[in-house]
């Protein structure tokens, strides 16, 4: 089927397709992934028990830890000779989460990214400036393949070297920008400092932004300062990467649900919630071969809406992600768990000092600081030792987080505590209005 039509199927056709694919994926994981066979057996559910989409609730959940426990390839459903691409998260306290794609999965990924780009009718003649990081992170290559798929010219500029990026955007006549929203704002600021007018001196008409939470204010700012359509992109590497959902011309975030079957559940009880209620987003991959996942808990809190959209698309919509059901932080598009920071602190000095993670904005960019209490276990009385400690912590944090973190050594009891329990994260970024 032409992918252009897939966003406009009748509801019953979408659901019939989903059920057919759900049965297939359940059959496949049961026979090919020992982890799932065991889980299914524990719950006393067999693939043939899945007779309707409602039966989805009988299936086990998958969580990030399951992927870590089966590092690197233990949850793959195909032999390695069928894997053509591997991506990986930065890895948290222990193992990174590794995802593998077959040639078929790459076609699925490209398709959903084509559908993403079609939200702003990107195609031949467009110049797509892709400032997502190329590498293990799925952002760079995900957008790259989609842009090629719709026939646009891609500039794989990746991250960094802001002034050069601006020069390329200007000289190559970029019409579409792909980046994190905060980087888009940073680009605009640097352009202005260089005496350029983002709206007039560039040819941008649309941008595809994701990988970090963006408040309504940030989205509007990006859109205004560049004078462009803001397309939001939602995704996670475990499900496919970018390309799980994208926002249309009416600013509604559509899930490509013929590939990724969404649910919203109560994060406490695991019970599915009815449409329109806020809860944790859960996805079942319907078509992925390499790493099919059943009821993967994203930890993202959002809402689903089924009513057709004004844009004419029938695939369902999700509200903006309004938070997380765990403590994961997103800093400049990079996932950070406080436990990663704690792990580094513990490893470096063999003790767990009190610390607090402080997130702030410098200009428009995220800044991560780790404030470490200098107590009598850490303090030798020597200034050089403290400077070494600070430097070593910064190095180790950069290695573990793939992100520059500034370490600040502070006196004990200066860190905020609430309810007698150490408060580990202070987020000073303005995210109070992520919701619409």
């Amino acid at each position: 089927m032409d992918w252009r039509k897939k966003d406009y199927l009748a509801r019953e056709d979408i659901e019939a397709l989903q059920l057919k694919r759900l049965k297939e994926v359940v059959e496949r994981v049961y026979h090919l992934v020992p982890f799932y066979r065991q889980k299914f057996d524990e719950l006393g559910v067999k693939p043939h028990d899945i007779k309707s989409l409602d039966d989805l609730r009988r299936l086990p959940f998958t969580v990030k830890q399951d992927l870590r426990d089966h590092y690197p390839f233990g949850m793959f459903a195909v032999p390695m000779e069928q894997i053509v691409r591997i991506h990986s998260s930065s890895g948290t306290t222990g193992k990174p989460t590794v995802v593998g794609y077959t040639a078929h999965d790459m076609r699925v990924w490209t398709e959903v990214m084509c559908r993403t780009f079609s939200m702003a009718k990107v195609g031949p003649g467009d110049v797509v400036h892709n400032a997502y990081g190329y590498g293990l992170f799925t952002g760079g290559l995900g957008f790259h393949y989609g842009a090629e798929g719709v026939g646009a010219a891609v500039v794989p500029s990746s991250v960094g070297f802001t002034k050069r990026q601006l020069m390329l955007m200007r000289d190559f006549g970029a019409t579409v920008l792909c980046s994190t929203p905060s980087y888009a704002l940073h680009l605009a600021e640097v352009a202005s400092e260089e005496g350029l007018n983002p709206r007039e001196d560039f040819r941008l008409r649309a941008g595809f932004f994701g990988a970090e939470p963006a408040s309504k204010g940030l989205r509007e700012n990006v859109s205004k300062v560049w004078g462009i359509r803001y397309c939001e992109c939602y995704g996670l590497s475990e499900i496919i990467g970018p390309g799980v959902a994208a926002s249309c011309e009416h600013d509604e975030l559509h899930i490509f649900e013929d590939h990724f079957l969404p649910e919203v559940i109560d994060p406490e009880t695991g019970e599915p919630l009815p449409e329109g209620e806020e809860g944790e987003l859960v996805f079942t991959t319907l078509t992925k071969q390499g790493l099919p996942l059943i009821r993967y808990r994203t930890r993202d809190i959002a809402t689903l809406y089924k009513a057709p959209c004004k844009c004419g698309r029938t695939i369902l919509r999700m509200g903006r992600v309004i938070g997380r059901s765990d403590d994961m932080l997103i800093v400049s598009g990079v996932n950070v768990f406080p436990s990663q920071v704690e792990h580094v602190l513990t490893q470096v000095e063999g003790l767990t000092p009190n610390y607090v993670i402080v997130l702030d904005k410098r200009g428009v960019l995220d800044v991560l600081e780790v404030w470490v209490e200098v107590d009598e276990r850490v303090f030798t009385g020597d200034i050089g030792a403290l400077e070494n400690l600070k430097r070593k912590l910064e190095e180790e944090l950069a290695n573990a987080l793939f992100l520059r973190a500034r370490v600040k050594l502070v006196e004990p009891k200066t860190l905020e505590r609430s309810m007698g329990k150490a408060k580990r994260v202070v987020d000073r970024r303005e995210l109070e209005s992520i919701t619409k």
């Binding site: 200098v374 107590d375 009598e376 303090f379 030798t380 009385g381 020597d382 200034i383 403290l386 400077e387 600040k408 050594l409 502070v410 006196e411 004990p412 009891k413 200066t414």
Partner: protein, 148 residues
């Protein structure tokens, strides 16, 4: 020799924050602890206040309970003539024996004497004391600082 000549120095970790030095000294003043010698080391973000006081145990305990991070370390003090070359004499002795000086500070001890305080790596402490003594320079006993 350590037992005879080690002077207890307190190092206090301080953030570079307005008023923080005032708070330490206020705590000490209110507890009637007399500061006999001091030095302040600083980096861009934090500092270490080093004190030799008349009552190190008391000072340490009140500072700790006031929430300061305090470390006690052994230093030694040498009396030298308050004239050119006084400091050089000691440093030369130590350098000739390959004894590294972590840091040092000094004050004029009255009359024509100056008192120099030295911090050396702990494993070289004993050797440093012997070196100074054999070099014919008077080590200052802790009672000089602690005595009422």
């Amino acid at each position: 020799m350590r037992a005879k000549f080690a002077v207890k120095q307190l190092s206090i970790f301080l953030e570079n924050r307005k008023g923080r030095l005032k708070e330490v000294t206020q705590v000490l003043a209110e507890a009637k602890v007399n500061i006999r010698a001091l030095a302040l080391a600083e980096s861009a973000e934090f500092g270490i206040l080093r004190l030799v006081v008349d009552n190190p145990e008391k000072a340490r305990s009140i500072l700790s309970s006031a929430g300061f991070t305090v470390k006690e370390q052994d230093v030694f003090a040498v009396e030298v003539p308050d004239k050119p070359g006084g400091f050089y004499q000691v440093v030369k002795l130590l350098a000739d024996q390959d004894i590294n000086i972590d840091y040092t500070y000094a004050f004029v001890g009255g009359k024509d004497k100056a008192i120099l305080i030295f911090k050396v790596p702990d494993r070289l402490f004993e050797k440093a004391l012997e070196t100074v003594q054999q070099g014919g320079l008077p080590l200052v006993k802790p009672v000089f600082f602690y005595g009422s």
